[in-house]
């Protein structure tokens, strides 16, 4: 028996091959529907507990101190079907030395897998249950700790301890600006330990810091219901907002990270791992969708050319020497002037050439902005064969580079390659070059499947690179070191009794206060929502104006490095707006003044914005002065003149006088003659 794997395939099998590549922002919901875009999120949120999940080290301390280093390797273990997981095998092929940096204050012998786990942190479990409750999940009655295997070294045990808290829920997903108003289905929430922070990954050595390791996280998994890159971003924000509503999660850099699963019609799920900021999600997922579409186009082209996949003996663990598609090329390149290859030969490294039957021209097919299909090969080689000194690979689609035509011809003829074939030349230390040759053949055979299952690393420019094969479902084993934990009804009752206000309830409250749904959603998700609540505007007009003012002005001041204001100095402004002693138009200016002059009292600051008894005389005086200046401007149209005049007068009267009154007065003084 193996657990039925969750379907990785996009439900639509007909790729939209004719759909042109477009930039983010150029596509409508219908366009994304046409290419079959589907996204899902796995959001990892650190919990704000005192200690780590399975040991009593402090959680949430970030350090740079190093007291000692430990070196380990990860061996793949056999799955229950007696096979090595593709992911596991790949990691082992890389033969990485994994180095852990230890700091006495943040790590004990548990994290480095020299002591069995201590009892699970109940504070974390209860926060996790509360989060599960907020997502409307069916909660477990007994928590079983499992081991989820990770062989990349990010966890010294080689597995992450994780337990399922709840399943199958949904939350209201309302984003008027994107036309979204439907439930967001949540598949599950689990509680798990955080992994190490990667410090460097050079060649055969990867180094991790262990301070973060073991920090309690919840992982929230949505169903793949997100239909555009912007929906992915909105869902990420909503999920984070729900978790934050508990007030018991960590905030700030690295405290919440999401993995995004993307597929398009005809492809399968690809995971983009560890995206730290929601604002990066749209571009990343858009580019990934088109990468997949381009891989499907390449598959189609191979089919059209009638090319069969290269035969790979015996799964993934074969030796290239048994393949007629690979030769040792050093002999043909003795006179090579291309420095990287020449140097490699001088260092007595190995140069191999690989023939990809029928691939001519495909390696230069664009897959991501500024990136061609050849990158899919070089990324594999970089990660799996640990070749890091670029360049380590050239290919025949770029003929005027690297080798001269004679050398290309020699290699082609040695490989018995014709014009329809592509040739990749790769070099490095002998065993790494061997691995590289094998991986190139494997990647080429995967091109015939279209989109291989991968976990990809997102880059800042929105593109992504190969990180590892997507692990199969067979990597989850019970943790025999930890007894099952009954989840008592009493805990749930306690959680129920102190549930925080949920985002959608808050939004509804804002709507009742007078905001539109769009404004309510935006306010609810903002950092100043609490400030708004503390100011508790009493009528609809003030509420709406205040929400608008906060949205416009708070980000401006925070960009200038000013501290976010507390409610105290601003309350008098809100009360003044309510009793109309300050006019609504003055809200922003008054707010600015309060924030800019924390040293002054609110009364003092607000004085200059108050409506005064002499305001009518003031209007009269200013309008008169403008009418005087306007005499030189009689050649202008009425509209232009009016706009100019309002611009002259209003800044002096903002918040003090009703703009309608000013306008009427100006019309009278400017155009009185005309009317007469």
């Amino acid at each position: 028996m193996s657990p039925r794997p969750p379907s990785d395939l996009n439900p639509r099998r007909d790729p939209a091959l004719d759909f042109p590549d477009r930039d983010l922002g150029e596509l409508s919901l219908e366009d994304y529907e046409q290419i079959g875009f589907l996204g899902g999120l796995e959001v990892h949120q650190q919990l704000d507990t005192r200690g780590k999940l399975f040991c009593r080290c402090p959680a949430g301390r970030r350090v740079t101190n190093v007291d000692a280093e430990v070196l380990r390797h990860m061996r793949p273990t056999l799955s229950e079907l007696g096979e090595y997981d593709a992911c596991a095998l790949m990691e082992f092929k890389t033969r990485k030395e994994i180095v852990y940096l230890l700091d006495r204050g943040t790590v004990c012998t548990y994290e480095i897998d020299d002591t069995p786990p201590f009892p699970i942190d109940l504070e974390a479990v209860k926060i996790g249950l509360e989060i599960g409750r907020l997502y409307g999940l069916n909660l477990a009655t007994e928590l079983h700790v499992m081991r989820k295997q990770y062989l990349d070294g990010s966890i010294p045990t080689g597995f992450q301890r994780t337990g399922m808290l709840g399943l199958t829920g949904e939350i209201p997903f309302r984003v008027p600006s994107l036309g979204i108003d439907r439930p967001l289905r949540i598949r599950q929430v689990s509680i798990e330990e955080d992994s190490c922070r990667e410090v460097s990954d050079l060649g055969h050595r990867i180094t991790f810091r262990t301070d973060r390791l073991g920090t309690p996280l919840t992982e929230v998994v949505t169903e793949p219901d997100l239909r555009t890159p912007f929906e992915v971003q909105a869902a990420g924000r909503l999920i984070a907002q729900v978790a934050r509503a508990t007030g018991k999660v960590k905030r700030g850099a690295g405290a919440a990270r999401q993995d995004v699963n993307i597929s398009v019609a005809g492809s399968r799920r690809i995971e983009l791992k560890g995206v730290g900021h929601h604002r990066r999600l749209p571009l990343l997922t858009h580019i990934e969708a088109f990468r997949q579409l381009n891989l499907l186009r390449i598959r189609e082209e191979l089919r059209n050319r009638g090319i069969e996949p290269p035969s790979l003996p015996d799964g993934r663990a074969f030796s290239w020497t048994t393949s007629p598609l690979v030769i040792e090329a050093s002999g043909h390149l003795r006179r090579c002037e291309y420095a990287p290859i020449k140097d490699a030969i001088d260092r007595q490294e190995r140069v191999v050439a690989v023939r990809l039957p029928g691939f001519s021209g495909l390696l230069s097919h664009r897959t991501q902005p500024g990136i061609t299909f050849a990158r899919e090969f070089s990324e594999r080689v970089r990660v799996i064969a640990c070749l890091t000194d670029r360049p380590f690979m050239i290919h025949s689609d770029v003929r005027d580079y690297g080798l001269d035509p004679t050398q290309w011809r020699a290699i082609h003829s040695a490989l018995e390659a014709d014009n329809e074939d592509a040739v990749i030349v790769v070099w490095g230390p002998a065993s790494d070059a061997d691995t590289a040759a094998r991986e190139i053949l494997i990647r080429a055979s995967e091109a015939h499947e279209g989109v291989p299952s991968e976990t990809r690393q997102p880059y800042l420019d929105g593109t992504s690179g190969f990180e590892r094969m997507l692990p199969g479902p067979d990597r989850m084993y019970p943790d025999t070191d930890t007894p099952p934990l009954p989840i008592e009804d009493g805990w749930l009752a306690e959680i129920e009794s102190r549930l925080p206000e949920l985002p959608w309830d808050r939004e509804n409250r804002y709507v009742e206060m007078g905001l539109s749904l769009g404004e309510a959603v935006e306010l609810g998700a903002s950092r100043w929502a609490e400030l708004f609540d503390d100011l508790s505007p009493a009528n609809k007009k003030v509420a709406r104006r205040l929400a608008h003012a906060l949205r416009k002005r708070i980000p401006h001041h925070s960009r200038l490095g000013r501290e976010a204001p507390t409610a105290e100095p601003i309350v008098p402004l809100v009360r003044a707006l309510e009793d109309e002693s300050i006019r609504l138009e003055a809200t922003e200016a008054a707010l600015d003044a309060l924030i800019e002059h924390p040293e002054k009292s609110a009364v003092e600051v607000l004085a200059s914005f108050k409506v005064t008894k002499t305001v009518h005389e003031e209007v009269e005086r200013l309008c008169g002065r403008v009418a005087e200046s306007a005499k030189d401007l009689t050649d202008r149209s009425r509209d232009v003149l009016m706009r100019w005049a309002m611009g002259e007068v209003m800044p002096h009267l903002l918040g003090k006088a009703d703009p309608m009154e000013v306008r009427q007065r100006l019309e009278t003084v400017l155009f009185a003659e005309e009317a007469a």
Binding site: G82, A140, G163, P486
Partner: protein, 462 residues
């Protein structure tokens, strides 16, 4: 048969399952007061409480459902697990040395049944080759599973069988012997084999693991690989323990069987040589001796096996306030030998002197070792020591208490009717169990936190 259908479930879950006509390995839809769950019903661990059903979800997670939340269980399928370790034939190469690997049990010889969490034995050559294929590059391997017991259940009965079978294997011409063993009492077995099997011409290498081989970070593979190097072509023909040097995956140490002890409950680098230095390091396939006074490998087969053990032997770990009746009770119960782990240089309180005297008169042999683990018994320094000697207590130099215990059991087994011969054997070093001298680095317990240790650890793999 009905037991298997409901494996591990007791009431109230058992009757719940029967009422809904479902058994383990049924795929279920469970309606509960906490919502609906779908999964495969797994067996329940016998040591877990009787109130929960365990479902394996499609995601691979297990989840527990309390019996009284269940409203309905509906069977929607059946998928029985049939767990078997994959086997691959272990290749043979006539050019390579051939090693006999005896299995006794323990972590190194077991794997996890991934669905139930139960530990199942895995020890055939095919299974080993399946998980550590590198072994085939080192030697040919014949394995024999003698027992399937955890470390704590190894005892005199197993010692005798193991010693005899090793003797036979040596005489059959094997180039080396490996013994897979649980780590908790590995040093007891290594000591007793050091006495029972003397003058071995080939290495006898004990190996275990602190992390089971189903874990990616397991130490099992490195330990097995290095033990295979030591056994197949290593130069040291003694009973040795082959385990991690540092906790990092760097090298193994070969410890002499009578000087080694497990010193940490869970660290990988738990085995240490006490009062001396280890015999060798093993790294990248090379056995590098770090001392010269080891017994070298020979081509003859002149091994001496003396498999005997008297079970009525015990260790008494002395503590302040010990009452004399502890000793009296042992003598009355027919114990033939007592090893005392005394304080300091080898002391016990005056209150138990009369009991020691009575034991001596009754023919119970009493020996003195140290609970300090390091250092020599020296009973002449203080008057107490001299008084205790007069009571017939025999000092055992720097013999580790656990080693003294198995040596006394062995000596009394070999010479059941000759107390003098036993005393002679006990007082004579046979396999490095007592040494003439302790080198300056024979005691090395680094103090963490002090500047010199901190500096040291910036330069080495911990």
């Amino acid at each position: 048969m009905s037991k298997d259908l409901y494996k591990g479930y007791r009431d109230p879950c058992l009757s719940l399952l029967k009422r809904h006509d479902v058994t383990v390995w049924c795929e279920l839809e469970a309606q509960t007061s906490r919502g609906e769950f779908h999964g495969l019903l797994l067996p329940r661990s016998e040591t877990a409480d009787p109130y929960h059903l365990v479902l394996k979800l499609d995601s691979g997670y297990n989840i527990g459902i309390r019996h009284d939340t269940v409203q309905n269980l509906k069977k929607v399928g059946y998928r029985e697990a049939n767990y078997k370790i994959p086997e691959q034939e272990f290749p043979r190469d006539p050019e390579k040395p051939t090693v006999r690997l005896f299995g006794t049990g323990g972590t190194i010889a077991s794997r996890l049944d991934y669905r139930t969490g139960a530990v199942i034995p895995a020890f055939s050559p095919g299974e080993l080759y399946g998980s550590v294929p590198e072994l085939a590059d080192i030697c040919n391997l014949d394995t024999e599973k003698l027992f399937g017991v955890f470390s704590e259940n190894m005892g005199p009965e197993q010692y005798l069988i193991l010693a005899e079978r090793i003797g036979e294997a040596i005489r059959e011409g094997y180039d080396g012997i490996m013994i897979g063993h649980g780590t908790d009492t590995m040093h007891h077995t290594s000591a007793v084999l050091s006495f029972m099997i003397q003058n071995t011409p080939v290495p006898i290498v004990m190996v275990g693991s602190q992390r089971s081989s189903d874990r990616p970070s397991s130490d099992a593979a490195q330990n097995l690989i290095n033990a295979a190097h030591a056994a197949s072509h290593g130069p040291i023909a003694e009973v040795v323990v082959c385990m991690f040097g540092p906790t990092s995956d760097r090298y193994n140490l070969l410890h002499r069987g009578t000087r080694v002890r497990k010193m940490h409950s869970s660290y990988r680098s738990t085995f240490r040589t006490l009062g001396d230095i280890p015999l060798a390091t093993i790294e990248d396939g090379f056995v590098n001796p770090i001392r010269e006074d080891f017994a070298p490998r020979r081509s003859d087969r002149d091994v001496l096996v003396q498999a005997a053990f008297e079970e009525k032997v015990t260790i008494v770990y002395y503590y302040p306030g010990m009452q004399p009746d502890v000793i009296d009770a042992l003598a009355e119960k027919g114990y033939k030998g007592i090893v005392i782990a005394g304080t300091g240089l080898g002391h016990v309180n005056r209150k138990i002197y009369p009991a020691l005297e009575r034991a001596n008169a009754a023919g119970v042999q009493v020996y003195m070792t140290l609970q300090t683990m390091w250092g020599f018994v020296q009973m002449y320094v203080y008057e107490t020591g001299r008084e205790i000697l007069e009571l017939g207590v025999v000092p055992l130099a720097n013999m580790i208490p656990d080693v003294a215990y198995v040596k006394l059991g062995w000596a009394l087994g070999v010479h059941p009717d000759d107390p003098e011969a036993v005393r002679r054997l006990m007082s004579t070093p046979i396999a490095g169990d007592m040494t003439d001298r302790e080198p300056h680095d024979g005691y090395l317990v680094l103090q963490g936190g002090v500047p010199e240790s901190a500096k040291f650890f910036t330069n080495v793999w911990k």
